[in-house]
């Protein structure tokens, strides 16, 4: 970790103006986890770096690490997810995926699973007939990859298959006899089956899954409360933008 220059594949999570003409960019990288770097002059129209430091970009980047922040020295853009620019309904969702992925990676260790998940998330979001269901699939996979997967196979205490309660605090399903967790709520077997299916299916197959009445809503409660309890992720600032369209 001590060498001065390094290269990695990375995704741009956040890109904000800095000073006169620079950008301060937060990267989520395959080899170095999450970190922030300066892209000098990236706001000038002729800048070679400008195109690579835009939000929703996937690229291969070179950095130099000085005493403080890393500085971006070169890049090859691999993919731009331009569609977020023109779809005001998808922009908040793309940001939400970035927000989630960024929140489970800390420090500069490798994070290939989370990076692949976010990249696939940005690629597939546009083709979703039910974007909310896609978010749930993303949330479940993210929990799984970050070691917080909810227990969804029978009661987590006695193993009974007839587990119809879910407790975020306990970490998963409970039957009626085991633990009366204060935060437990009932879930339909169909919702649990849906959650298991979303966990297993690759993101590219989510668009073929059709939940039945009420399941989406219940699943939203399940992942939402679980994320809040285990990852301390409350109401998303990105998703709150969607309220404007109501």
């Amino acid at each position: 970790m001590t060498e001065r220059s390094f290269k990695t594949d990375a995704l741009v999570l956040l890109s904000r103006p800095l000073g006169e003409a620079d950008r301060l960019v937060t990267f989520l990288s395959w080899d170095r986890g999450k970190f922030t770097a300066v892209a000098r002059g990236a706001r000038k129209t002729m800048s070679k770096l400008a195109a690579g430091v835009e939000l929703f970009t996937y690229g291969h980047y070179q950095f130099y690490r000085g005493r403080n922040l890393a500085t971006l020295t070169g890049q090859q853009v691999k993919e731009h997810f331009h569609y977020f620019r023109d779809h005001p309904e998808l922009y908040p969702l793309g940001l939400y995926l970035a927000e989630l992925a960024g929140s489970v990676v800390s420090g500069e260790g490798p994070a290939p699973e989370i990076c692949n998940l976010l990249l696939e998330g940005w690629r597939r979001l546009i083709e979703q007939p039910d974007p909310q269901l896609f978010l749930r699939a993303f949330e479940l996979k993210l929990l799984d990859f970050s070691g917080h997967c909810p227990h969804l196979n029978g009661c987590l205490q006695c193993g009974s298959a007839a587990a119809s309660f879910f407790s975020p605090r306990q970490g998963g399903l409970l039957c009626g006899d085991c633990g009366h967790a204060a935060d437990r709520f009932t879930v339909q077997p169909g919702t649990v089956a849906l959650a298991r299916r979303l966990l297993k299916a690759p993101l590219q197959q989510v668009k073929q899954i059709r939940p039945q009445g009420g399941q989406s809503h219940e699943l939203g409660r399940l992942t939402g409360t679980f994320l809040r309890y285990h990852l301390d992720i409350g109401e998303s600032r990105a998703l709150s933008l969607l309220k404007l369209f109501k």
Partner: protein, 198 residues
């Protein structure tokens, strides 16, 4: 080598300017010391005065020393047109072209909720009420041609069009990512003329 304390303080202060490192700060400090006292006083006074007297117009958000600003007061300006820009300096850039005669709305940023910039921070509700109350017929969106700027434009268009107002986006002949303020006058004039409906 250590400086006299007063000099060190000056160099440190100058270092806070964007793009000014210790070496340049030192050069500026010595430049100031070589100038006559009155000149240095007038430079310092100009800074303090600007800080004390300038603020953002409560109507359009541009930099002003009167409330509302001179642009908002000017009866010759077309009140049916509002141009939405990201930064107060973008107003100066567009004014310099001499091509635009409507009013402005300065967002002071682009929609970036992860950075704490939501609709309230950009004063979008105020923009919408201005549009409704003043019979605005066209909103020209001149946010920067990057992801946040484009997404902000798409958002505003989605929310303003139902009010029966034409929404246009200025046409940038610019590479992706660069800021509006770095465009030259001719490019900007053309961009304004060539604006397209969203």
């Amino acid at each position: 080598m250590s400086y006299p304390q007063t000099l060190e303080k000056l160099v440190e202060s100058l270092c806070r300017f964007p793009g000014i490192g210790p070496k340049t700060a030192q050069r500026l400090a010595f430049f100031l010391l070589a100038r006559p006292r009155e000149e240095v006083v007038s430079i310092a006074r100009a800074m303090v005065e600007a800080k004390d007297k300038l603020f953002f117009c409560s109507n359009c958000g541009c930099l002003t020393e009167i409330e509302p600003c001179a642009l908002c007061r000017d009866s010759r300006r077309d009140r049916g047109l509002i141009c939405v820009v990201q930064e107060p300096r973008d107003v100066l850039v567009l004014e310099r072209t001499g091509q635009y005669h409507g009013l402005y709305h300065v967002l002071h940023g682009a929609l970036s909720p992860l950075d704490g910039l939501g609709p309230e921070e950009l004063r979008l509700p105020h923009l919408f009420s201005r549009i409704k109350e003043n019979n605005v017929r066209e909103v020209i969106i001149a946010t920067n041609p990057n992801v946040e700027g484009d997404a902000t434009a798409a958002f505003i268009a989605r929310l303003v069009k139902p009010l029966g107002v034409t929404v246009t986006r200025i046409a940038f002949g610019l590479p992706v990512g660069g800021d509006l303020e770095y465009a030259d006058d001719l490019t900007l004039s053309r961009a304004l003329e060539g604006r397209r409906e969203m």
